[in-house]
Symmetry: C2
Subunit: 382 residues, 2 copies
Amino acid sequence: MRDKQFLMIPGPTPVPQTALLEMGKAPMGHRSTEFSAILKEIYADLKWLFQTKNNVFIFTASGTGAMEAALSNILNPGDKVLSLVIGNFGERLAKISTTRGADVERMVVDFGKTIDINALKERLAKDVNKEIKVVTLTHSETSTGCANPIKDLLAVIKEHGALSVVDGVTSVGAMEVKPDEWGIDILISGSQKGFMIPPGLSFLMASDRAMKAYEECKYPSFYFDFAAHKKNLEKDTTPYTPAVSLICALNATLKMMKEEGLDNIYARHKRLALGLRKAIRAMGLKLFVDDDNFASYSITAILPPEGISVADIRKGLKEDFDIVVADGQNDLKGKIFRMGTLGYVCERDVIGSIGALELTLKKLGANIELGSGVKAFLESLI
Amino acid sequence: MRDKQFLMIPGPTPVPQTALLEMGKAPMGHRSTEFSAILKEIYADLKWLFQTKNNVFIFTASGTGAMEAALSNILNPGDKVLSLVIGNFGERLAKISTTRGADVERMVVDFGKTIDINALKERLAKDVNKEIKVVTLTHSETSTGCANPIKDLLAVIKEHGALSVVDGVTSVGAMEVKPDEWGIDILISGSQKGFMIPPGLSFLMASDRAMKAYEECKYPSFYFDFAAHKKNLEKDTTPYTPAVSLICALNATLKMMKEEGLDNIYARHKRLALGLRKAIRAMGLKLFVDDDNFASYSITAILPPEGISVADIRKGLKEDFDIVVADGQNDLKGKIFRMGTLGYVCERDVIGSIGALELTLKKLGANIELGSGVKAFLESLI
């Protein structure tokens, strides 16, 4: 049905009307006092959302832009980087480090698994000369639905002394992240995720240590330059013309988020994701990440029942129910499908989607008891 | 009056309703077939708008992002760059080249003037060993309202053999630029200008020679990487999540532009800018760029009458008429004000603005004959 599409992909995610109405307004001048007043509020609200005393910069760019911003401001050619890779987006941080001329070592696990703390401990213990300058890691790995135990991993990195660069693209505003307490040096995220607005903005929190590393960076990016962003942030502005419409939409959603409260937001994501996982199991399907302790609350990867293709499931959900779910990426294409519970998603959305999935699978010949998934989800809400 | 604000600044510029309605729609999935179909049309339409057979990449970034994209994909540390600087934005290309480790030489003129062709000829003739790899230059210099005679300058650069990087931020879609015919290697622009949509996207045309230079670039930007954008463009997609809402708005405005026709668009900008200049002169005010042959058709810089401050003029226009004009930048702050005729601007808009300027100046004590500017503008339309 027209205008009924529900995006369950890990971004773009659904956008509340309040934000869409802001998007549809004629943009205001980015150097006006009205716009500065909005930016001033947003810079403060982002500190709240990121749970940090550090500055949070706003880039007009995709999440990948913020990834590049992170690494291009602290790396020099030859620097040693340890990249903890649990999926495609972890690999992207490694790749970007390579393009900056860094000497990159990867610690890779089978996709669907998380980093083993002891393995990391061992590796860093071997680095007696503290040659590893930066460790990159992912919180919620969008490509697999896996969530690293980053609090514990960060404690190990902190003890070693390397700078930590954390991809929080699908975790900030959805899952608990405490950068100051846990010792994150750079934390990045993107607008079309927990922030509930369309794609086009990304965010970067930089610690004092990250700012210090920036000072020694020989060729930092001009567009993403930390100093330029810091200087302008302090004057309630941005160094270059930002995506004004998205900033105004963000102002609206940040207010909504403050109204809901951060703990409630985290609880909602956890409730919906764990409830969805219960439903999937009740339907007799398998989760790609079996252990709830390592499950992302933003995105859930599901294996199709034997003999039924991911393509057919996605097609059925889209054509009959206006629900868009994501395929797996690269090697996982056709092997998993991914359902998002990220951002502007409520119980009713998930109930509807589970029901739609049940009937879609049944129509495709799967042995599904209609209502079994919905029942399990509803029970999980009690 | 509420929602009546008219942006005469050089960006953001006014946005047509058709595009605002697209902005206000829930974003679609960026890997969907629907979105690919839109991108396919846009990539073709951008070739038309840029008047080129080359690819035009789309970046989710400000114009400065496209500037960085241009230089970070072709420069290696130590490369020699000649930057032709006629204003702040010309200087920005020089600065970005420096951050890439290039050896930058500037040819600077007094702001408000353009580059002298003979001076450029002489400088390049001296470069017998062809050490200068790249020449950066500005078409319409947004900070001064000056337009370089780029066709002639490009002929000189072409003869020398250096790569040309042209800032067309306020010229593409407003003033005639023929990259293939004139020999531009990289031409960049931004969405909140001639493209008639809000800020957040920028564009880059790369010639075959630019793509060749890219291949020898040691540390190209990952986010702005030419090869990644080329590969994805060929598959009607983008390498990373783009600002979907802006892309859909762009699809709408490109259709509007095709309907109007490129020659008509150029003629409209020329008519409005030259008409505005006649009005300014008729009011007894001075233009910062005196010679019409070197005037930008996108932005006109005007000196305030003696004894009247730019701040007061801007305040009067905004408070009494909901018209926002721009101050000068840096050293020119308070010395000029700038009125845009860029993008979605029609005769009626300019008539209203000239009238508003007349009364604002009169109220501030200037010796203005009310109606004199409007009369001159109207006469210019006959």
